[in-house]
Amino acid sequence: MNRIASYFSMAALLTLASGISSADVEFSGFASAGVVGGDLDVPLLSGRDVIGESSSFGADNTVGVQVAANVNDDISVKVQLLGKGTVDSYSISAQWAYISYEVSPSVSVRMGRMSFPAVLFSEYQEIGISYPWVRNPMEVYSVVPLATYSGMDILYAIEGDNMSWAIQPFIGSSPGVQALGATGDAELAFGITVMANTDNGKLSVTVANANEANFTFNLGGIDATLSMDLTYISAGIEYELNNLLLISEVVKKDIRNNPKSDFTSISDMVGYYLMLGYRVGDFLPHFTYAGSKSDHGSAVLPAGSTLPGVPASVYTTPADMIIPSNGELFLQKSYTLGVRYDFSSQSAFKLEYQKIIPDDESWGVYFANPGDSTSILSFAVDVVF
């Protein structure tokens, strides 16, 4: 149903777009290319994606092309196609496709497909040049597996003398998204972001809900579906004082109405990080400490248990199964030391060393043995055009 609705909105967008003269159409885009390496014996997870095994090119590769067309002074149509590299393939999707109506200089309404805005960088997570790292801290960004939603939002901008406010409520539904081996969707997604901006930075608070979110996992060849209501509460700050740059975020994921609350593979969790950087000309060396925690520890599912959404007649666990403390992101801490160098006004080079230490009995973000730590080295080039 959601898919049909999005096809209709795409058709409407294309019809609108076809009536626009070429003079009103603007193309722009962004791209990232990278290589990651380290002592990985298994796929490593980056944000919502698996980025690769051992040294790999292509893991952080992203290309986005945006076509923006102004129908008139108040209405514009934007479509953003996103090509992304995963372990061994590329996927192309319409990340954004929406009609924007500017009601007044301080109020605009957007309708269509947009990013699910649960954390600070949600809306420009794919645009590498907009942030200091090769990829956003996974302890926070893996917590939100829903990438996009179809619906509408309102952007209110309130101007003050020394401070401006941006208020952004949204409502819609989230289509299927592949995340860490699970397919997820949400029937109803809604929330609000309130952001305070000053000359030196911004402070943002978001509450985002995904109701009737369904995640289908493949466990030993059997699809198990978990259905639940999710609430994300996040706060983020980005602050710049002279050459000093500070970015920090905390996100809390609450699960409600989980029909299998005793099944602890998906649980409430908190992800956080603190980044400090210091600009030296076009160089930005930075250090990030990130972590995640959960109230639930690992659990053992005894032999003969059923899986959520799978009848006992189809499958029961043949032996005791260890269920890690979180099915989407295993708990860990990480230290990242990196440098970003802007070698032109529209391109940046990034180099990063990251030490990842999983919590006791936790698997960390890579599927090895619980408790193992690992180091990775990442390199990326980001451009905007």
Binding site: G64, S130, S164, S344
Partner: protein, 143 residues
């Protein structure tokens, strides 16, 4: 030898003159009929970051910019916005690809900016001091 010392004394001041004249200052210009007589650096910064979109009378502002990587643009953003062009580009990448802002219109240089501002009461631009003429009104000098 004496000749050499004398020429150093002549050439050195000339060198300084040369470097001083390469930056004679920038000015901010609007349409002559615009009621605005002056603008603060803070307001100007907010206009060029798309945080301030209206003049005090409620009419929309159309800011104009110089081509990417131009020296004039580099100087303006350093002195007014306090950001390097790469920081400015990162800033806009967040707004452009999320539909939250439209960057200033890019013109070819001082002459094109003057012509546009002279023909549009909503226009605002910055040009080199030496390009000033009667077609536009100066509301701020950036030193």
């Amino acid at each position: 030898m004496k000749k050499f010392i004398v020429s150093i004394f002549i050439i050195f001041p000339l060198l300084f003159l040369g470097s001083a004249s390469s930056y004679a200052g920038l000015v901010v210009v609007v349409h002559p009929a615009n009621s605005m007589q002056a603008i603060s650096k803070e307001d100007l910064k907010r206009i060029y970051l798309s945080k301030k979109k209206e003049f005090s009378d409620g009419s929309l502002i159309s800011p104009l910019d110089h081509p990417k990587d131009s020296e004039t643009k580099k100087t303006f953003y350093k002195k007014v916005v306090g950001k390097s062009l790469s920081q400015v580009s990162s800033y806009w990448s967040r707004l452009i690809f999320t539909g939250k802002g439209i960057p200033p219109r890019v013109m070819r240089g001082d002459e094109e900016i003057k012509v546009w501002v002279a023909g549009h009461p909503e226009g605002i631009g910055y040009i080199n001091k030496k390009s000033i003429d009667d077609s536009v009104k100066v509301i701020l000098t950036i030193k």
